[in-house]
């Protein structure tokens, strides 16, 4: 099968870090997404709660992740996400798909995308849409 289809550079599983930065404990969404991604065949590393941007970026590097899903429901997204993006850049990590989920007001979504976030998912986003977005986003980057 692998010979017949032009698979990207590797046929390993997509590796996703699901991350909870900040101090809030709202992990319902993060855990649902982590499980849905795992059920769809991806390798999921869930950081657990209360992570600093530094800890998250270290996890991304150590786990050689293809994508990162940052879950924020604390209102601190405009502080924490730019910090994560800066640290990724400083570490020379430029091939990781960055997505954000949580209570993100519309006016901030554009700003986050301008900073380099590929997708922002607000409450009510169907799980399958998120799984598909990450899968196709990672595949696109590999081509």
């Amino acid at each position: 099968m692998s010979a017949a289809i032009a698979e990207p550079k590797t046929d390993r599983k997509i590796r996703v870090v699901v991350a909870k930065p900040g101090l809030d404990g709202h992990d319902r969404g993060a855990k649902i997404i982590a499980r849905a991604l795992r059920d769809s065949g991806m390798e999921v590393i869930y950081t657990g709660l209360h992570q600093t941007p530094e800890q998250i970026v270290e996890t991304v590097i150590q786990e050689d992740a293809d994508a990162i899903g940052v879950s924020i429901l604390s209102g601190a997204h405009m502080t924490l996400v730019p910090k994560i993006l800066e640290l990724l850049e400083a570490e020379g990590v430029d091939d990781v798909l960055v997505t954000v989920g949580g209570t993100i007001p519309n006016k901030d979504i554009g700003d986050l995308k301008a900073l380099g976030v590929s997708g922002v998912f607000t409450p009510g986003s169907p799980t399958d849409d998120i799984v598909d977005f990450i899968r196709s986003g990672v595949r696109d980057r590999e081509l």
């Binding site: 869930y46 709660l49 601190a76």
Partner: protein, 549 residues
């Protein structure tokens, strides 16, 4: 996204289709997935109805904690508020009181909930975002400026550092000339549900339980009008639990606190009347009402039969209700006004003692003043226009409601047994048992929503294009302002006094003395919340969750 399939039944459906649907009873379920039958009758009521249902204000209190219920006194309208610094929140408190609110409820920001001062590196970007920042007694004093603490009852949502915030409040009362005996209100303190659901902790489970028991003991001795623990199902439900799981885990947490206080040597009738509860009001109307009624019956029975309470006040469960934040949708936010009204009505028909109604914009941000006003008006309309307050427990005796109440009770007892098999609630929490059950339920519910089995209007059906609503913006400059105030407090205080207070606190933590007293001493000399937490962490250690998903 397109609206999903058309309704399975409805006026246009043929009789045959409708009958087939009725036959497949599994299609008719509560939100928690409990099957609902085509009809309920006398056969569905378990056991001796007089004994199980009884009268309002009488054991087992199924029909309500008080004989006259809202004929005697309305529930307390208590909107949860807190954002920015203490000045902004104090202003919001006055706004709410001016609009007819009857009690206060304080939301603290994440750093305060986790025991970090506003100038801690971990607090960056989080100060005042999801609640108000309080670092020292100076902040607490401004928070309640112009609010007579002897007259208004205050609720404070804080858990791991609850003892510290209570100390701040007691000292502000002192400054206002109000003795601790006169202060009335509630502090959440329910640390077990933090490990289970809300996830704001400072210490490992055992020392955290000791701190809770210290507070119960202190309040029993000095604060007869205060509720030292609000045993909370709200966050458990928000994390994804079913109604029955919320009921079971919350009551089991409550029994655990009762056991600890009894082990401490406190008479059950001296503290049990001051325990109160906090439940969620979700969107499945009857399931919620049944949950509240079952909670009262179970609590009454267990306090009497298992814990030896003799006073009816010890057996009488009273609770605060908040409508389900998780039921709010970011899509078509005005629809949330309707959801909140229905949920609030369930809380009232279930016999709540106080109520918070969510604002329609809260799936997007903290609420604006206008949104909060609509939420408060929703309560006032229920209380003063609808007539539902005219008689206690108007649904008592309904075949369906009583049957559902019995089912809730049975399901809760099944969970109690499983938790006992694991060695009790503290051990179950350590083993991630409730966390895992809640995670399963949350995932299952999301699947039902994604598959269109459970309708959420505006999300998976009746989807339309969105128009933005105005949102509350929290000025990032407020963080700087708070950090500056904290710096000023640190500069003006006597640091030798602070050092010796912290040493005394550590000594007490290493021994067995009640920690409330050294905490009060430290608070008095302007020791910060973060300093006290760090001092206790030196002795107690910290907590790290092993995440399960």
């Amino acid at each position: 996204m397109e609206p999903t399939s058309t309704p399975k039944t409805g006026p246009e459906a043929s009789d045959a289709v409708r009958k087939a649907a009725e036959a497949a009873e599994s299609e008719f379920t509560t939100m928690s997935g409990k099957p609902v039958k085509a009809r309920y009758g006398a056969d569905d009521m378990a056991g001796d109805a007089d004994l199980r249902i009884g009268e309002p204000g009488q054991y087992p209190f199924t029909r309500g904690p008080y004989e006259s219920m809202y004929r005697g006194r309305n529930w307390t309208m208590r909107q949860f508020a807190g954002f920015g610094t203490v000045e902004e929140t104090n202003q919001r408190f006055h706004y709410l009181l001016d609009h007819g609110q009857t009690g206060l409820s304080t939301a603290f920001d994440m750093p305060t909930l986790m025991g970090y001062d506003s100038d801690h590196a971990r607090s960056l970007g989080e100060v005042g975002r999801e609640g108000v920042a309080v670092d020292t007694i100076d902040d607490m004093e401004i928070l309640f400026q112009g609010i007579p603490l002897g007259e208004v009852s205050t609720s404070m949502t804080i858990n791991a550092p609850a003892a510290i915030l209570l100390a701040f409040y007691v000292l502000v009362g002192e400054k206002q000339g109000v003795a601790s005996e006169q202060l009335s209100g509630t502090i959440q303190t329910d640390i077990l549900k933090e490990y289970i659901a809300q996830k704001e902790w400072c210490f490992p489970v055992e020392p955290a339980m000791r701190l809770v028991t210290d507070m119960v003991e202190y309040c029993t001795d000095h604060m007869p009008r205060w509720h030292p623990i609000s045993i909370s199902g709200y966050h458990i439900r928000e994390a994804g639990a079913t109604a029955a799981q919320e009921l079971a885990f919350t009551l089991k947490d409550g029994f655990t606190y009762v056991e600890r206080a009894i082990e401490r040597g406190i008479d059950v009738d001296a503290f049990a009347p001051r325990l109160s509860f906090f439940f969620n009001a979700h969107i499945d109307f009857f399931e919620e009402i049944a949950k509240y009624r079952a909670a009262r019956r179970i609590w009454a029975r267990e306090l009497k039969e298992t814990y030896g309470a003799r006073k009816p006040e010890s057996m009488r469960l009273r609770f605060h209700t908040q409508t389900a934040g998780v039921s709010l949708t970011a899509q078509q936010p005005l629809n949330n006004i309707v959801r909140t009204a229905i949920e609030a009505l369930a809380g009232v028909l279930g016999g709540t003692q106080s109520l918070h109604t969510n604002s329609f914009d809260e799936a997007l941000a903290l609420p604006t003043e206008e949104a909060v006003r609509v939420a408060l008006r929703t309560q006032q309309i229920i209380a003063e226009e609808t007539g539902v307050t005219n008689t206690p427990d108007p649904l008592g005796g309904s075949y369906f409601v009583e049957a559902l109440t019995d089912e809730m009770e049975a399901e809760a007892y099944a969970y109690f047994s499983r938790i006992d098999e694991l060695g009790g609630m503290v051990e179950a929490v350590r083993q991630n048992y409730p966390q895992r059950e809640i995670g399963e339920a949350a995932f299952d519910f999301q699947r039902r929503v994604d598959d269109g089995e459970f309708t959420i209007v505006g999300v998976n059906r009746y989807v339309t294009d969105e128009e933005d609503v105005p949102l509350l913006h929290i000025d990032p400059a407020l963080e700087t302002k708070q950090v500056e105030r904290l710096t000023a407090t640190r500069a003006k205080r006597n640091s030798a006094e602070v050092e010796s207070a912290l040493t005394a606190l550590k000594d007490a933590a290493a021994g067995e003395a009640n920690l409330m007293y050294p905490i009060l001493d430290a608070a008095r000399v302007h020791t910060t919340e973060g300093e006290m937490i760090e001092a206790m962490q030196e002795i107690f250690g910290t907590y790290t969750e092993t995440p399960v998903f």
